[in-house]
């Protein structure tokens, strides 16, 4: 297993971190405060986990005034994803759409 994969697995092995990351994936950018409300742990603990996620490249932070906003970085998951099967189903559906278009097009 490569170092990049190893780091991603270790980072996401913690259930609290995984939950934070999943929530950012589903709901988009969030402040530390908003993430803490539903995390079930204190704000310093949430901040610590976000720091570890950031080190692994899984989240990005953005400072605005006194708030720090976090967002998920899906690109960081690239080493874990089976791109061949993702892309195969993507292209199958695009072939369907292409065929539909060809039926509608004028000769």
């Amino acid at each position: 297993m490569s170092n990049a994969q190893d780091m991603l697995f270790r980072t996401l092995a913690d259930p609290t971190r995984r939950a934070l990351f999943e929530r950012l994936c589903r709901e988009g950018e969030k402040t530390v405060g908003a993430l803490t409300e539903r995390a079930g742990v204190s704000q310093p603990v949430v901040s610590k986990h976000l720091g570890i996620l950031k080190q692994a490249g899984l989240v990005r932070d953005r400072h605005e005034g006194r708030q720090t906003h976090y967002s998920a970085q899906l690109g960081a998951l690239a080493p874990l994803v089976d791109w061949t099967s993702e892309m195969a189903s993507f292209w199958q559906s695009r072939f369907d759409a292409l065929e539909d278009l060809l039926k509608r097009m004028d000769q």
């Binding site: 999943e22 899906l74 690109g75 690239a78 874990l80 994803v81």
Partner: protein, 136 residues
């Protein structure tokens, strides 16, 4: 093309289309038609032309590599750390056209990592798959 020698893999989709190659070529190369079945883009059928496919989830960075009207079209495809080449091949048949798409350059180790990960954390990967299904 699942060869260990080069350590990359390809996705190949082939389909018999009941349409002439010239018509399919238009759908593959004219931006107003491309966006009807694939994505918005500023594609031009000119070698070395750089363009993007744009969707609400982000964009794909591309460069035209090969243009042979009504026969072959190839462009690079870069998104989410994925660097591949998409090649379209059109071959006339008695009743229409055999359309082949090959996306080449997937690294061989990626699938194994994913397989191991799936068995460990099914729930997490279900969520991830839903997110990716919307994004890819």
């Amino acid at each position: 093309m699942s060869d260990i020698s080069t350590e990359t893999r390809s996705v190949i989709i082939e389909r018999e289309m009941l349409f002439p190659a010239e018509k399919i070529w238009r759908a593959l190369t004219q931006p107003h038609l491309i966006q009807e079945w694939l994505m918005k883009s500023d594609f031009k059928p000119a070698v070395d032309h750089r363009f993007n496919f744009n969707a609400d989830w982000g964009s794909v960075d591309c460069r035209v590599l090969e243009v042979e009207p009504n026969k072959t079209l190839a462009y690079s495809w870069g998104a989410y750390g994925l660097e591949t080449v998409v090649t379209w091949t059109l071959t006339p048949t008695g009743t229409g056209t055999h359309l082949r798409m090959e996306q080449a350059g997937f690294r061989a180790d990626q699938r194994q990592a994913y397989g191991g990960a799936r068995s460990g954390w099914p729930q997490f990967f279900d969520t991830l798959e839903q997110v990716l299904a919307r994004t890819v």
